[in-house]
Amino acid sequence: MRFWGVRLASIAGGIGLAVLIHWIALSQLSAFGVRLVVLAGLYVTLAVSLNLINGITGQFSIGHAAFYQVGAYAAGLFTVKVFSSQPLTFMLWVPVAMIVGAVVASAAGLLVGLPSLRLRGDYLAIVTLGFGEIIRILSQNLKVVGAASGMAIEPKMLSQSPMVWLCWLLAIGSIALCRNLLQTAHGLSFLAVREDEIASSAMGINVTRTKVAAFVLGSALAGAAGGFYAHYEGFLIPTQFGMEVSFIILTMVVLGGSGSITGSVIAAVALSALPELLRNIKTIPLATVIGLTIGVIAAVSLGRRWSEQLHGPVRDRVLKLSGLTGLCLGGGYLLGLGLRALPALSEATTDGNRIRMVIFAGTLVLLMLVRPQGVLGHREFGLGKWLREPAR
């Protein structure tokens, strides 16, 4: 009885959180803000599902956008062909279409999973990369999905009232599935395959089945996200699912810390918001940019050298390194002010929008230099123990 009480409470909590996000987004944010919240939800689903394949089961897949695309196209095509001849309303129809997307994408996952089982590491990565390209080129040439000119998903369903709650429910559901899995011995068998395939099979684990399960499950979640995207966007075109989408999802997983669910979530939210938040930077003097860049480089190179000699509790080390970073950045800013005295730089300014992607890329490089194991490493972020350190 207590079990079902806790279970119902957590389901209610999940739904409540999704509704809360929905309500905040629609009542507080601009249309553009709502769009960001939706995209963040989709990227959380994508990153968490890739983390299941990549971080938890250790199968290096770099074609995740392909499953996203398969789900989007399948759900979109299903709507175009079937919606007008059935009685469901928009609100009930979108989840149905998402399930269709998930099923078709998981079939694609099975298709990639089965032949690639003998492959590991780089070799598997190449196969998934190839699969991504096959899907992209197919979608560019298939007349039934509109080929290169794209496919309109009629009628428009989510453009008037975006169901933000649905997209976040999917994200929260994905997180819950992965978290549940890791609480059980079943989840340990996935981690075992990541750690050592030979030892896993010698311990009686069906490595084949485990890998296929990870691929099918991960691609189903991505497919459901695609199904939502198709109806949210109302228009699908192959360039929306290029290789850069696969890479940004992979970046989220690695940046958050491979294998860490919460890491993937944090990185997905941060990386989908960062390029947009950087749009707010207006015009800044070129000298400041140069000064700050030098400051950052100084902070990283000094910090990396210094941190090897630092000992003592984590908090002290973090404090000292933050102090160093602050000093370097402050110094960089002052240097920028000084540089403005130079006649060549006194008037030169740069548009924030122009350097936004440079800052974004630079941030990724910096983070990987400073924390190659990802923001959370293999750990999970928990409210109870703040940063809990179970061995993962």
């Binding site: 011995a185 075992a192 050592d196 030892a199 099979s201 010698a202 311990m203 009686g204 061995a391």
Partner: protein
């Protein structure tokens, strides 16, 4: 008595090299069986044949009545399910996982709960996991590792890693356990203690043990029957005293007593 494991002319060729040539011996239930020989003699290859990592080129291997490698070639996980577990010469633990988790994974193959119940965290999956954890804790106690239950396997000292591998193999609940150089890198006290533990695995838990070892004192004190391999061929078989005094073994492996 019917043999538990029979090697019947098991042979494997890698290109032109015959790594194991027509090896034939029987292991009876309850044996403490040793497999020795110089480096490169084919001992670990024998283990890989028995556990299905390699497939025989000719001959066959029977486990009880079942053919596991030969006419029928079972994959390693099926062989483990039938009841053969092993450790590795170059330790292969799940490094990032805790000692306890390593042993839980060993017991996982006997778990009957579905993936679906794990994903939805239903009672069968929870109950299974708790039971496996309790069982794993017992095996850790047997190997004297209960204090390290929550230490990452990678962070354990070498001797403990070796013992953890045995605990993990025990957790699969095998009939036959294969130990590949369990005493390698251990000091005399540790290997003495290990020798007692291995005997306990046989006496208290009724497992049959097949082991590879270079530490001759360890093998001669522990094993009741020994097979000697050299260049993939069987050159001697018998009790410790027969082996010690066998001129062929002395020439190929043991060397002249000083």
């Amino acid at each position: 008595m019917k043999p538990l494991l029979s090697m019947k002319g098991a042979t494997i060729r890698f290109g032109g090299l015959v790594a194991v040539k027509e090896v034939t011996f029987d292991i009876r239930p309850g044996d403490l069986f040793g497999l020795i020989g110089p480096n490169g003699a084919g001992k670990t290859t024998c283990f890989n044949l028995i556990t299905g990592m390699y497939q025989v080129s000719s001959g066959e291997i029977l486990f009880g009545e079942d053919c596991i490698n030969g006419a029928r070639k079972l994959p390693p996980n099926k062989i483990c399910e039938l009841g053969i577990a092993r450790t590795f010469q170059n330790i292969r633990l799940f490094g990032a996982l805790s000692a306890l988790e390593n042993v839980v994974i060993g017991g996982f193959l006997r778990s009957r709960s579905s993936l679906f119940s794990a994903l939805t965290l239903m009672p069968p999956a929870i109950k299974d996991t708790r039971a496996l954890e309790a069982k794993a804790m017992e095996y850790l106690k047997v190997m004297d590792l209960e204090e390290d239950a929550h230490t990452r396997a990678r962070d354990l000292p070498y001797g403990k890693q070796r013992r953890l591998e045995i605990a993990r193999a025990m957790a699969t609940n095998p009939k036959l356990i294969l130990l590949d150089e369990p005493a390698a890198g251990m000091n005399p006290q540790e290997s003495e203690q290990l020798s007692r533990t291995v005997r306990r695995i046989r006496d208290d838990y009724g497992k049959t043990v097949l082991l590879i070892e270079h530490d001759m004192r360890f093998v001669m004190n522990l094993c009741e029957r020994i097979v000697v391999l050299d260049h993939g061929e069987e050159i001697a078989f018998g009790g410790p005293d027969d082996i010690r005094n066998n001129p062929k073994v002395i020439e190929a492996y043991l060397g002249e007593p000083v």
